[in-house]
Structure formats: structure tokens, C-alpha cells
Symmetry: C2
DNA sequence: ACACACCGTTTACATGCGTAATCGATGATG
DNA sequence: CATCATCGATTACGCATGTAAACGGTGTGT
């Protein structure tokens, strides 16, 4: 698969949240995040179609778009890529980085403890 | 700061591992990972100089390059960017993603348990 | 001194990306 | 029907990027 660009991924986010959507609805949904002309979104949709990341079905005079690329797959690829490039492909060093440098919220900490507790103990 | 591109970051990796280095040494060090002509590395070094990400001191007829941008800063920016874009800015969901989808190595798991144990308990 | 080898600097060029405007078909409207 | 509004499709265009070759200055060996 060709890679999804940053701008394109914004469109994907919208479609992952809700679909199918018309181009116009996507523009509206994006309104908050990106100040894009309708033409811009159309271009991105076309590129996503070519990349096979979204599909479209005709509904009257317009198309309704839906994601073909699954969010989980995208998220996974992106995350794995980061881990590989910067953390030797392992999760622990990333967590170490954030626990050392970043404000982990109490909520985050609690959630992490819960998650980790569920992991199988080694031995 | 202007963003560091993928190819540029490969050069940074080398310099983070060891510096100062001449252009030639960088090419050699990259040899494994990237099949680049010396000219290509020179271009990347120049772009990195312009971006202020590396510095150079003349040593005889050549320059020796060193990173100015710190690895930690770069890693942090990249990681935070990923978290923000895909995980609502929080670490826990990313960990959840990997613990659900990815083979966490026993080593990773052990390390995570250790890390998390050190976090302050809430209450 | 002179040619050459070796550097960094400049220039090159195709592709992708961000951001649109314009074109052409087609359904709606008077 | 004729015109207009509306879509998607096509074209545009500047900048970044990946990848490198060409150029030009300058130590160096003979």
C-alpha cells in the first residue's frame, strides 16, 4: 500500500469516526480541525481512492465514501514504524521515555497499571 | 525548527551514536542501513546544517559534524506527535494497542512491569 | 609550479504533498 | 427545453524530499 499522508489521514479520521459520508459532509466534519476548501478535500479523497484506502458508492448524483483501510491497521503500522525507528522496535523503552520525561496523568498511570497487571507473568 | 525528514534522520542516528564524524565516516557508518552515494549524504548534511540540526567544525580540509539537535528532543517530539495524532495524546491507549495486537516479548513485559511499578501510586 | 585528488557547495530532477481553481457532465428548475 | 447549480475529475503550482551529478577551490605529491 502506498503510504497515507498527513493531510489524507485527517480525512481518514473523519471516515473512521463515521461513514459512509459524502464529500460535503466530510468537509463539514473536518471544519473544526482543518480550514480546507471543498476542492482540497476532493483532491484528498481522490488520492485516497487511488491508494485504495477508501471506497465510494454512488448515491444519486454524489458519492458516499467509506474507509477500506482499517484504522487498527493504520494505527499499528504507524506505531510499529515509530518503535522500530526510535526504540529498537520495543515498547518498554518508549514507556520508559515517557515516564521519564512526560507528565503521565494519574489517569494514564492507573490505566497502565491495570493493563500491565493483565499481562502474563513470565517464567 | 524545521522538521527533520526520514532520510535526514538516518544521518542523525549515526551522529547520535558517535560524533564528531567526517562526511566519509558517516557514509561508512550508514553503509549497512542505506545504500547511499557519498553525494547523497553530503546533500543531507547540508540540509541538516541549514536546519540547524547539526554543526560542523573544520578539521584540516574537511569538516567534522556533530548533532546540535538532541536525540531526546527529537524522540520526544516524534513520540508525542504520534500519541497526539492517534491515541488522544495519552500513553495508555498505545500500550493497550500493543498488548492487544502485538507480541510483547517476555523481556518487554518484564521491563514494563518494572517501569510501571516505579510509578507513583495514585490516591 | 602543476596536475590531481578530495572536499564542500551548487545545481538537478522526478515524485509526493498541500492547497486549490477550473472543467465537464448531469440533474434540478423555471 | 434552456439555464443553472452541483459533483466528481482534471489540471495547477510551489515547496519538500530522495537521490545524485557537476562545479570549484585548495592541499598534495612530483
Amino acid at each position: 500500500m502506498m503510504p497515507i499522508s498527513e493531510a489524507e489521514s485527517a480525512v481518514m479520521q473523519v471516515l473512521w469516526a463515521r461513514h459512509p459520508l459524502s464529500a460535503e459532509e466530510i468537509v463539514t466534519a473536518l471544519g473544526d480541525a482543518r480550514q480546507w476548501q471543498e476542492a482540497t478535500v476532493k483532491t484528498l479523497l481522490n488520492r485516497l481512492l487511488n491508494k485504495g484506502a477508501v471506497g465510494a458508492v454512488k448515491e444519486g448524483r454524489r458519492y458516499l465514501y467509506s474507509p477500506l483501510l482499517q484504522r487498527e491497521a493504520y494505527v499499528h503500522e504507524q506505531s510499529k514504524d515509530l518503535l522500530d525507528r526510535l526504540f529498537g522496535g520495543r515498547l518498554a523503552p518508549l514507556v520508559a521515555h515517557f515516564s521519564a520525561h512526560e507528565t503521565l496523568s494519574p489517569r494514564d498511570i492507573a490505566e497502565l497499571k491495570r493493563l500491565i497487571a493483565e499481562l502474563p507473568d513470565e517464567r
